[in-house]
């Protein structure tokens, strides 16, 4: 893949420090136009900072690149016209009504018919009947829908969504993702950061970032394959005790409880097999070899990067 019209975001070597602490380190990424790109990583890993650099809210210390073909350093103003940015914290005016907020955004972007655009968006969001309600009085799910509506109102080419579904109920999350897929189908590029694995699996491509380093990227299948992880799923009694016993054994890179089961993973299959062998025959435990879930991959990556970068 190189340059051209097919790429919405193309950045290389982005680095950003705050008060001597490097938050983003030598980050490079490419996002194809019309795709949904998932941005994953633990809290404080540099996701928000990267997104802010992409939309011109922060200037990188070093690194370069383009966003929608515009230079991220020189053309921040042009990028702002084409990008919809949904902040992590609700950032519409709480003391303005739904309609007033949307009209404000429409006017700011210079839409010819601000009232009409706001009216259409209210209809599209299913907020009819609530247009005069103050934004601050909406429930979490509605606020998030409204925020998305405000971002998409000026017809951007790229959406940057920073943990848009944090603290939103499952039904609202599902509706939200349906909306995002509908937007992508219309040709919009979407970069979305999230903590939810089910959401990661709905992305065309994902990237995992921890401690400012982009650790892996690709489709979900590629990321899992690249991890070269083998996972055993264990069910049975006293899994807490088992977890304590297995942790730190040679070949066992990760032990993680998942509800009523325990996931035991390692990159070196032979060493893993050897280490778990003594427990394979224990009464009341059922061992089942499986391919790792995305969550296994990420937890293992996170554990590994912690050793490397901290």
């Amino acid at each position: 893949m190189n340059g051209g019209n097919g790429i919405a975001i193309d950045v290389k070597g982005l680095t950003k420090s705050f008060g001597g602490r490097e938050v983003v380190h030598d980050l490079s990424m490419q996002v194809k136009r019309g795709s949904i790109y998932g941005f994953l990583g633990p809290n404080g890993s540099g996701k928000t900072t990267t997104i802010r650099i992409l939309c011109g809210l922060l200037t990188p210390d070093s690194g370069e690149g383009t966003c929608l073909g515009y230079d991220i350093r020189r053309d921040a103003e042009k990028i702002k016209r084409q990008v919809g940015y949904m902040t992590q914290r609700f950032s519409l005016y709480q003391d303005l009504s739904v309609r007033e907020n949307l009209e404000f955004v429409a006017r700011l972007y210079g839409l010819a018919d601000a009232r009409g655009a706001a009216r259409d968006m209210i209809k599209r969001l299913g907020l009819s009947g609530r247009e005069e309600q103050l934004a601050g009085e909406l429930s979490g799910g509605w606020k998030q829908r409204l925020a998305l509506g405000a971002c998409t109102l000026p017809n951007p080419q790229l959406l940057l969504l920073d943990e848009p579904t944090a603290g939103v109920d499952p039904k609202a999350r599902r509706d939200f993702w349906n909306e995002i897929h509908a937007l992508a189908a219309e040709g919009l590029t979407v970069l979305v950061s999230t903590h939810y694995m089910d959401e990661a699996e709905r992305c065309h491509e994902i990237a995992y970032i921890a401690y400012g380093h982009l650790l892996t990227h690709g489709t979900v299948e590629e990321v899992i394959a690249k991890s070269a992880l083998t996972t055993y799923t264990v069910t049975g009694e006293d899994l807490n005790g088992l977890a304590a016993e297995l942790t730190g054994k040679a070949g066992i890179d990760m032990v993680a409880p998942f509800g009523t089961s325990l996931h035991v993973s390692g990159r070196d299959v032979a060493a893993l097999e050897a280490s778990v062998a003594p427990w394979r025959e224990r009464d009341g435990l059922h061992w089942h070899k499986s391919s790792p879930s995305l969550e296994d991959v990420f937890i293992e990556l996170m554990g590994r990067s912690k050793d490397n970068f901290q």
Binding site: L57, T87, S91, L92, L108
Partner: protein, 387 residues
């Protein structure tokens, strides 16, 4: 005990002195937060110390060296020695010597001088003849405090000072009469001075607060982040935030002047349109300064403190509370940097003296310069990124 108050394992809770314990917890938290806010912490010390030093030295309720003008209609030795004597009293400082009545009136009207001494034609001859002619002293009584002490001591001081200069010997009484004329406010009604002054003071306070909080509020509520990600320029943000309050300020000014005229009988001798125009300029200047404050501070508490830092000198050094002419020179220079100083001259001059733009162009220009300066700082200070 509900599940929520259950103590961490291994820690007992104590039931006694619950009130004190919880208050103490709150108190510790407040102290920590106060210490973290460096700017507020500095202001706690700076505000009283600076203000005290400033005002302690600057304010003088019995002003001396008041700017004065003389209308000289004859150039005689006697006239010269009277002027010298007046200047020796330390109450008057003659800045202008004019020979034309219109020039003389203009100086008083524009507020450039507070006193005018008129020595009429044929004055010396009349004194020698023993006619006891009148020496006219016109005082700008729009500020009764500044004028009264000088007028009060005029007669005696001049007599003492003239004793040796007059070669008539030791006269049993003054060889001429001093006729003091309190212009613009003959009854020395303080409301005539206070009401126009209040227009300026109230506007300063309200306008400053309106805009001082505007940017910090956006930052604190989190709306700034999305605002910055949208295609709007700092100048556009500024104008959008200032213009609505110009209207608010205008209504306020109208209200105060209306009450002043209706209830306190303060006249509006000058042109109402000019008053409205220059008031709008003053309102906009204050809004710009408030907006500048809001681009400099980090939170709303700091914005309030900074506004106070600006507001107190505005009251004390502008000539609203204490006579401007009575302050030491450095304090007067400081006062010239405050919009209220210029507006007080404007509003008093238009309402009480019927002044025109011709008398007021210096103060109007000063306001415009202060406004442009504040706006420039605000636009350059406004951060377009979150860096």
């Amino acid at each position: 005990m509900s599940a929520v108050d259950r103590p961490a394992p291994g820690h007992e809770t104590r039931e006694r002195f619950g009130f004190l314990r919880r208050s103490y917890a709150m108190l510790i938290k407040e102290f920590i937060q106060l210490r973290r806010d460096r700017v507020s912490f500095a202001m706690i010390v700076m505000l009283p110390v600076m203000q005290l030093m400033l005002f302690g030295y600057a304010i003088n309720t019995t002003p001396r060296h008041l700017p004065s003008a003389v209308l000289l209609q004859e150039d005689s030795d006697l006239a010269r020695s009277i002027l010298k004597a007046l200047e020796n009293t330390a109450y008057f400082r003659f800045l202008y010597e004019v020979h034309d009545v219109d020039d003389f009136d203009n100086l008083l009207k524009s507020g450039k001088v507070l006193f005018g001494v008129e020595i009429p034609r044929g004055f010396e001859r009349a004194v020698r003849r023993g006619d006891r002619p009148a020496l006219l002293v016109a005082a700008d009584a729009t500020d009764p405090v500044a004028a009264s002490s000088a007028i009060g001591s005029l007669g005696m001081i001049v007599q003492t000072a003239l004793k040796h200069d007059l070669y008539i010997g030791d006269p049993p009484e003054m060889p001429f009469e001093i006729r003091a004329h309190a212009r613009y406010n003959p009854a020395a009604a303080s409301s005539l001075n206070i009401v126009p002054g209040l227009v300026g003071t109230i506007l300063t306070m309200t306008m400053l607060i309106f805009t001082a909080l505007s940017v910090t509020r956006e930052v604190e509520r989190g709306t700034m982040e999305s605002l910055l990600s949208m295609p709007i320029k700092p100048v556009e943000v500024m104008f959008g935030k200032i213009v609505p309050y110009v209207l608010v300020g205008f209504v306020q000014a109208f209200l105060i002047i209306g009450i002043g005229v209706g209830l306190f009988g303060v006249p509006v001798l000058g042109n109402l349109f000019l008053l409205a125009l220059l008031s709008t300029l003053f309102i906009t200047t204050n809004l710009s300064i408030g907006y500048t404050i809001s681009t400099v501070v980090q939170n709303q508490l700091q914005a309030m403190q900074m506004s106070m830092m600006f507001f107190l000198p505005s009251i004390l050094l502008s000539g609203f509370m204490f006579p401007f002419a009575g302050m030491p020179t450095w304090a007067q220079y400081l006062g010239e940097c405050l919009p209220l100083t210029h507006y007080l001259r404007i509003v008093r001059a238009i309402m009480l003296k019927g002044a025109t733009m011709q008398n007021l162009h210096f103060d109007a220009l000063a306001l415009a310069i202060l406004m442009a300066l504040a706006m420039t700082i605000a636009v350059t200070r406004f951060r377009r990124t979150l860096d």
